[in-house]
């Protein structure tokens, strides 16, 4: 176990180095003087000289990379050209917004996806099965940005029951505790804010959850089908265990493994989807920040965001790997019984 983890950690560090090199190169590959790209069009010659000095832009690439990593480890991702605020600060605030959205989307997609998959597998070839699999297929074929707009039209414009954009209505005050509005409002007892932010969360979270939900549903179904044909299931039934017990205690537990893998691997989809969903619903998260920064030519911000996203992805993947490994031998022992 320890050997496994240390091997994976080594792998992780390697990937992180590779990612940082790639992001580092980005700024040098864009046409234009990196110094100007980093300080923006309105900087004075003094500013340009200063950044050149600070990042060693006259020196060799390896040296520049060394400075870049040194700064990163200090937590310095540069300063946003637009706001003059350190990128790390800008990223962190918005990251929490994206996390809130992603977690809720993940919960929705996992819950509904697994439920649908389980029921489909149990009622194989029934109408439910057929419908849910068709919908799942539709789910992965649908452009999220279109789905988001259509949902917005139905629920916000036509029927007017859900708000169109933002995280909560602008007049309300958000007392920051954890940075997650739903949590903070509960903790500070602000029920108005709680329900308000919940309402704002529904459409974007559901839109974001669509693709992972579809994938999880399909995966669950096929995984369950495979498990249920195994001998030990039949043994359990023969022993007289109720259908429910069989499904949940034995089958699902064993089928869970690939499902977890899929959930973890889909995290990347979730992050990518966040970019589009946040743009549509004006959700103040990291995804929208990347897009806005790019169109504003705020390259330090773009660089910082992309790096941040990649690091999160890698770390989550590692966590999923470890979780998988942890669950696997345990289950193997359980399954025999």
């Amino acid at each position: 176990m320890a050997k496994f983890i240390s091997r994976r950690l080594f792998h992780l560090i390697f990937i992180l180095i590779g990612v940082s090199i790639l992001v580092f190169l980005m700024l040098r590959l864009i046409p234009g003087d990196p110094a100007h790209l980093l300080v923006g069009e309105f900087a004075s010659p003094a500013d340009v000289a200063r950044i050149r000095e600070k990042l060693g832009l006259d020196r060799s690439y390896p040296y520049q990379y060394y400075i870049y990593v040194k700064n990163l480890l200090k937590g310095d991702m540069g300063v946003s050209v637009r706001s003059n605020v350190p990128v790390s600060q800008e990223v962190f605030v918005r990251f929490l917004a994206t996390v809130e959205l992603s977690i809720v989307a993940m919960l929705i997609s996992s819950f509904i996806g697994i439920m649908a998959g389980v029921i489909s597998s149990v009622r194989k070839y029934s109408i439910f099965d057929y419908c849910s699999m068709v919908m799942a297929l539709a789910g992965i074929s649908m452009p999220i940005f279109w789905l988001g707009l259509m949902l917005m039209y139905l629920f916000s414009v036509k029927w007017g029951i859900l708000p169109m954009m933002g995280r909560y209505t602008m007049g309300l005050d958000h007392h920051v505790i954890a940075g997650l509005v739903i949590l903070d409002s509960l903790l500070s007892g602000d029920l108005q804010l709680f329900f308000n932010s919940l309402k704002h969360l529904i459409l974007p979270a559901f839109t974001l959850a669509t693709i992972p939900m579809a994938i999880i549903a399909r995966m669950t179904r096929s995984s369950m089908l495979e498990v249920m044909s195994k001998d030990y299931i039949r043994t359990a039934r023969a022993k007289g265990l109720s259908y429910g017990a069989v499904i949940f205690r034995h089958a699902l537990k064993n089928a869970f493994l690939p499902i977890i893998t899929v959930i973890g691997l889909n995290f990347g989809l979730l992050l990518g989807g966040a970019v589009l969903t946040e743009t549509i619903f004006s959700w103040p998260g990291l995804g929208r920040y990347v897009v806005d920064s790019l169109s504003a030519r705020d390259y330090p911000a773009v660089q910082g965001c992309i790096l941040f996203f990649a690091v999160i992805m890698v770390v989550v993947n590692l966590a999923v790997d470890i979780l998988y490994f942890y669950l696997d031998p345990r289950l193997r022992i359980d399954g025999k019984g």
């Binding site: 069009e41 309105f42 706001s83 954009m165 209505t169 602008m170 007049g171 030519r297």
Partner: protein, 530 residues
């Protein structure tokens, strides 16, 4: 018996009505009394660039800055005449070179320091005197439009200051009312140096509190204000670049006022009883500047061809939904000296093609058409308008590629003359033709960073416009300007597109919302129902 009862019923009804009326009267009266307090959230299309208005060129900076800063004089409420603000009276010497202003006493800046003649001297000289210690703390814009003509500022005593100009300059007092000439606290400039634009300290009815870039600027009531104190507690100016998001914000109540909405949203707002709408004919112009320094475009015939190719009437009817008038001159008819005798280039594909052939381009040519990325009051749908113009040009053989840059970069690059043709506009702050003609079309302003982004240099036009600055007689100035517009029409450095109607849409809970054509709207008098 029946009649009696009917009589009684009638009396009951009438007394009931009277009672109801009596009960409602107080609420009627109450409805008119300004409510103190509240926060106004003001939605606009972009963030300000700087709040030190002497350095500002864009409407968003001006919008916010004028709540905090004051000038010596300002424009009267509904006319373009000038009235005292921080100055109480003024006179000009017989040779027309020295203007003496008497200043208001007992006024304090937001940081507590006193307003006096020295503050005027510092605020002005830092802009015009290269040797002033504060000169390097900013980039001074359009000096020609603001303090340019002023050569020296002399403190006569604490409350008297004299401005000396190089040549007699008739529009000086009108210039001083422009946003470009605010009075700031010298102590604050000393303290913040180059960051004075992010920390403005003035004498206005609102104080600056905080600025979160690209998001919002927060202002607070100045409880020590010398005049009528504002009703509102706070103003939050929120930047919502996407026009549909801005309208949605208004609909959801996230903002109380939405500026620069697209005509389609305005149509929707008109049918919604929750909103009030005010319209004013503008003092602005939206135009297509043709860079006369570039090959092909330096040929007058080509520029005239382009003028014939564009169907302004349709643009006004469709994209602007009628909230504009087609433009034929550099400034709108609401400003004096407008030459109405000029006949605009009519929309004619044939004439356009003919002129192009005569110029030597029978098969047209390729070109770049730059469009703004953000909506402006004079052009709420720049990209759509550009696409339409692109189609019109394509119909005569000119292949235009639409190019966009981020707003700040766009302003910068066009000021440097990197474009072939670009769309831009102007809001004439002081309703003086000089503002438009000299400011945007003279060769003085054709040097980067230029305001004359057609980079047009015409000696005859220059002379007319400069002469008009030194003449004090309005009739004579009018003659000069009429002729200048004729030359403009002939040489076509711009294809003037539209003069748009300014529209402000706001929540009906707000009262006394101003909308001045010149864009200098103080929110001092606004109040909000609870």
């Amino acid at each position: 018996m029946e009649i009696e009862r009917r009589e009684i019923m009638k009396r009951v009804y009438i007394s009931f009505l009277l009672l109801a009326a009596l009960l409602m009267m107080p609420s009627f009266i109450l409805a008119q009394t300004p409510v103190k307090g509240g926060t106004l959230t003001w939605g606009r299309g972009g963030d300000s660039v700087t709040l030190d208005l002497a350095q500002a060129t864009d409407g968003e900076s001006i919008k916010a800055g004028i709540q905090v800063l004051e000038n010596l004089v300002i424009f009267k409420k509904d006319t373009m005449d000038v009235e005292p603000q921080l100055a109480t009276s003024w006179e000009v010497s017989k040779d027309g070179l020295v203007w003496t202003f008497k200043l208001r006493k007992g006024v304090k800046f937001h940081d507590g320091t006193p307003f006096n003649a020295n503050a005027v001297k510092v605020s002005f000289e830092r802009v015009i005197d290269k040797n002033h210690p504060f000169y390097k703390y900013g980039t001074w814009r359009y000096p020609a439009l603001g303090l340019g003509p002023v050569k020296e500022v002399k403190v006569i005593d604490d409350y008297t200051v004299a401005l000396r100009t190089e040549k007699p300059y008739a529009p000086l007092v009108a210039n001083l009312a422009l946003w470009l000439c605010p009075i700031l606290s010298p102590a604050a400039i000393e303290k913040y140096k180059e960051d004075i634009g992010r920390n403005p300290v003035g004498t206005g009815p609102f104080k600056f509190v905080k600025w979160i870039k690209d998001d919002q600027i927060i202002l607070e009531r100045n409880d020590d204000y010398r005049g009528q104190k504002p009703h509102l507690d706070r103003i939050i100016l929120k930047a919502i670049p996407e026009v549909s998001a801005r309208f949605m914000a208004l609909q959801s109540g996230a903002v109380d006022i939405a500026d620069d909405l697209d005509p389609d949203s305005i149509e929707m707002a008109k049918s919604n009883t929750n909103f009030k709408i005010i319209e004013r004919p503008s003092v602005n112009v939206g135009y297509l500047a043709v860079n006369t320094k570039k090959p092909i475009l330096s040929n007058k015939l080509v520029r005239q061809a382009i003028s014939h190719a564009v169907d302004k009437q349709t643009i006004v009817k469709t994209i602007f939904r009628g909230l504009a008038i087609p433009a034929k001159n550099p400034y709108p008819p609401s400003i004096w000296g407008y030459n109405n005798k000029i006949v605009d280039y009519d929309y004619s594909v044939q004439k356009a093609k003919g002129l192009l052939a005569k110029a030597g381009y029978p098969n047209g040519f390729d070109i770049e058409l730059w469009a703004m990325p953000v909506s402006r009051a004079y052009m709420p749908e720049p990209v759509k308008t550009a696409e339409l113009i692109q189609a019109y040009l394509a119909a005569v053989g000119i292949n235009a590629k639409i190019v966009r840059y981020e707003w700040g970069v766009y302003l910068d690059k066009t000021a440097k003359g990197e474009h072939d043709m670009c769309m831009l506009g102007w809001l004439g702050g002081n309703a003086d033709p000089d503002n438009f003609l000299y400011g945007l079309l003279s060769s003085d302003n054709a040097k980067p960073p230029a305001a004359n982004i057609a980079f047009w240099e015409n000696a005859e036009f220059d002379k007319l416009v400069k002469d008009a600055q030194t003449v004090f007689d309005k009739a004579k100035r009018t003659q000069l300007y009429l002729r200048a517009q004729e030359i403009f029409h002939e040489e076509v450095p711009w294809v003037p597109l539209v003069h748009s109607t300014i529209v402000r849409v706001y929540n009906k809970k707000l009262h006394d919302v101003p909308l001045r054509p010149n864009g200098l709207n103080s929110f001092q008098m606004i109040w909000k129902e609870k």
